[in-house]
């Protein structure tokens, strides 16, 4: 019988069982790496480094996981914090910001293919809307869970999801017809 996330967490807490933690990593690596790849606009190497950092950080702080939220939600939060800290550092180092990136990527240059268009449209969204759309629409988190991950009010999450969706729909209008 497959153990639940909670049972595996308990094994890590009680026995410091790294095999149990390995199972948790195996279960959640795809969604965490996927989210980070989208947040870093397809930078696979950076996303994987951040994902590794997030899982190591989660292991070190596993005693602070109280089981009030799902383990996956708690992981998303740590991964998102890793991304935010890194983005802040990078901005300080190379001066890249959202507006500059968007200005350099003209939507008119989109290649054919729905998936490509979708990913491109997603990458053009401002970070706060992109994060909310990715968590709620792609990863299936509720608005409440996304608010916990992003550490913003519930109403703001709803607004960001709504705005992000509207922008995506506009960009992909021809595909939806």
């Amino acid at each position: 019988m497959e153990l639940t996330d909670a049972a595996l967490v308990a094994r890590v807490l009680v026995d410091e069982d790294q095999n149990a933690y390995g199972e948790l990593v195996r279960r959640h690596q795809s969604s965490i790496r996927g989210l980070l790849r989208q947040l870093t606009r397809g930078d696979v190497a950076l996303a994987d480094d951040l994902a590794q950092d997030a899982f190591v950080r989660a292991y070190k702080n596993i005693r602070s996981f109280r089981g009030e939220a799902k383990f996956s939600t708690w992981l998303y939060r740590i991964a998102y914090n890793c991304f935010r800290e890194d983005a802040r550092k990078r901005k300080e180092l190379v001066g890249i910001d959202e507006e500059q990136w968007q200005a350099e990527h003209d939507p008119q240059t989109v290649d054919p293919g729905l998936r490509h268009d979708l990913m491109h449209a997603l990458s053009l969204l401002p970070l706060h809307e992109r994060s909310a759309v990715l968590l709620c629409c792609q990863n299936g988190l509720s608005h409440e869970e996304a608010a916990r991950v992003l550490e913003i009010p519930l109403g703001t999450v709803k607004t960001n999801v709504l705005r992000g969706r509207e922008k995506l729909k506009k960009t992909l209008a021809t595909w939806a017809e």
Binding site: E16, Q29, D48, M119, Q138, N139
Partner: protein
């Protein structure tokens, strides 16, 4: 397309656009980067064992009139027939070997179950 249908379509496409990412050694890399588990209580356990052994030895020495029983027992051993000494040494060797085999077998089973 109605609002809800459009929303569902978009969500479905977003989910489809995020395929499962194969592990490809990622979990192994994370496990290698984890800090080694702290050996909690190990120092205390050693301290208690060594302390209790030292205390027991001291008590035995004092209560046995300065370890006089050792001299007596050593004298008794020298009077044991050689055949008995050989048999005793052989039995001790077999006992230690059996203990070693048991420890190795249980460790192998434990490792196999943790890998599998």
């Amino acid at each position: 397309m109605s609002e809800q249908v459009e929303q569902d379509w978009l969500d479905r496409k977003l989910q489809e656009a995020a395929p499962y990412i194969e592990d490809d050694g990622f979990t192994a890399r994370v496990l290698r980067a984890l800090p080694q588990p702290a050996r909690r209580g190990e120092f205390l356990r050693s301290f208690i064992l060594v302390g209790m052994s030292a205390l027991a030895s001291a008590l035995t020495y004092v209560l046995s009139d300065g370890g006089r029983f050792l001299v007596v027992e050593m004298f008794k051993i020298t009077t044991i027939p050689t055949l008995w000494v050989v048999a005793f040494a052989l039995a001790s060797g077999l006992l230690v070997m059996a203990g070693g085999i048991f420890a190795a077998t249980s460790k192998t089973t434990q490792l196999e179950s943790s890998i599998g």
